[in-house]
């Protein structure tokens, strides 16, 4: 009697395991349910409201940073600039690099716009109210926190990766902030940009 119970439990377990293997991946990657990314409402330096919808039809390269960042952010913006150049004008037209500040207190929309345009006018710089920026950070699961500095100011600890979002707005992949421009261009061309 006990053995048949054990067998029954085992059978059910194997069946459930099989179902998980077959259907699990679909459940995890439902189309339209982005686990990273999603709606945001921010402002560019020209006084325009910019949302995720603004970029539909283009591949977004989203990066979160701040203008008081002396090392990582200028480096990544340089990388994005050089990736656009590596893509060539035709393909680059399908790609929208978007820089979102994690420091809205110091980085107003105008400040961010001026900052990113010094690297490349094709990069969109966005900021907003603290709540709007927090919403965007939450959508992209971005970590951002102040770290006080000796001079009385602060730096920002922040997630530093490049989020690749497809023309439909869905998350595609992340790229490291130390990715090489050529590799980013190759990746985007391979995705169909």
């Amino acid at each position: 009697m006990r053995r048949s119970v054990v067998l029954a439990v085992l059978t059910i377990a194997i069946l459930l395991g099989g179902l998980a293997v077959v259907f699990g991946p679909d459940l995890l990657s439902r189309q339209g349910t982005a686990r990273i990314g999603g709606p945001f409402t921010l402002s560019d330096g020209g006084g325009h409201v910019v949302t995720d919808q603004t970029f539909r039809g283009r591949w977004m390269l989203v990066y979160f940073g701040y203008t008081h960042c002396p090392d990582v952010c200028p480096t990544t913006l340089t990388t994005l600039t050089q990736a656009l150049d590596a893509l060539g004008q035709e393909h680059a037209a399908h790609v929208a690099p978007v820089f979102i500040t994690v420091d809205p207190e110091r980085d107003t929309p105008e400040v961010v716009r001026d900052y990113v345009h010094a690297f490349d006018p094709r990069i969109t710089g966005l900021s907003g109210t603290a709540a709007q920026v927090a919403d965007a950070e939450r959508a992209y699961r971005v970590y951002a926190a102040r770290h006080p500095t000796k001079d009385g100011g602060y730096e920002m600890d922040h997630s530093s990766v490049i989020y690749v979002m497809g023309p439909d707005g869905d998350f595609v992949t992340v790229l490291g902030d130390d990715s090489k421009p050529q590799d980013i261009a190759t990746k985007l061309r391979g995705l169909g940009a």
Partner: protein, 176 residues
């Protein structure tokens, strides 16, 4: 160094003169910074260091900014943090240590003027053994990135002027 007539003392005499050649020194190569973007008040300066005898970079100053300090970019699980380097940056004997984007760097906080391509940034580097070394770093236009352009090649070797103020030949330490 006067009565070095017998062989053994002669060798010892030679030994005492060696410290003059081995006075602590640090080679500074390719110091550079990026031009700043509008509204950018802080900037990073990068360079390559090599100390044949071993040393430690313990401080930095610049007349061109309110503050200057040694920082390290630390990446963990995709999160980037910038941290002070309280003990300074060690320079193991004979090893090349490069301050580069994404790693160690000199941080200038509160620049008095924007950094413009073609200018130079004045830095005073303080070393534990070598003392103070003045360095002039070239400012490059935005778009430059050390890891991609530089690596080992020296583009025209404009590691500008530097005064090695620590070459103290006068006081040879005979107890070494």
């Amino acid at each position: 160094m006067t009565h070095c007539s017998r062989l053994l003392p002669a060798l010892l005499c030679m030994g005492f003169s060696l410290p003059a050649m081995a006075a602590p020194q640090v080679q500074v190569e390719r110091p550079w910074a990026r031009a700043t973007a509008p509204h950018q008040t802080d900037a990073a300066v990068y360079l390559t260091l090599r100390s044949p005898g071993g040393d430690r970079l313990i401080g930095v100053g610049s007349p061109m900014a309110d503050h200057a300090s040694l920082h390290e970019t630390v990446k963990e699980n995709g999160v980037s943090r910038m941290r002070d380097v309280p003990g300074g940056i060690p320079l193991p004997a004979g090893q090349t240590v490069t301050l580069r984007p994404g790693g160690f760097h000199i941080m200038l906080i509160g620049l008095h003027h924007p950094l413009v391509a073609g200018q130079t940034v004045t830095l005073d580097l303080s070393f534990e053994k070598a003392g103070t070394v003045e360095v002039l770093a070239g400012v490059e236009k935005l778009g430059a990135n050390a890891t991609m352009q530089r690596d080992t090649a020296m583009l025209g070797r404009h590691d500008a002027g530097r005064r090695d103020e620590m070459m103290d030949h006068g006081t040879m330490d005979q107890t070494r």
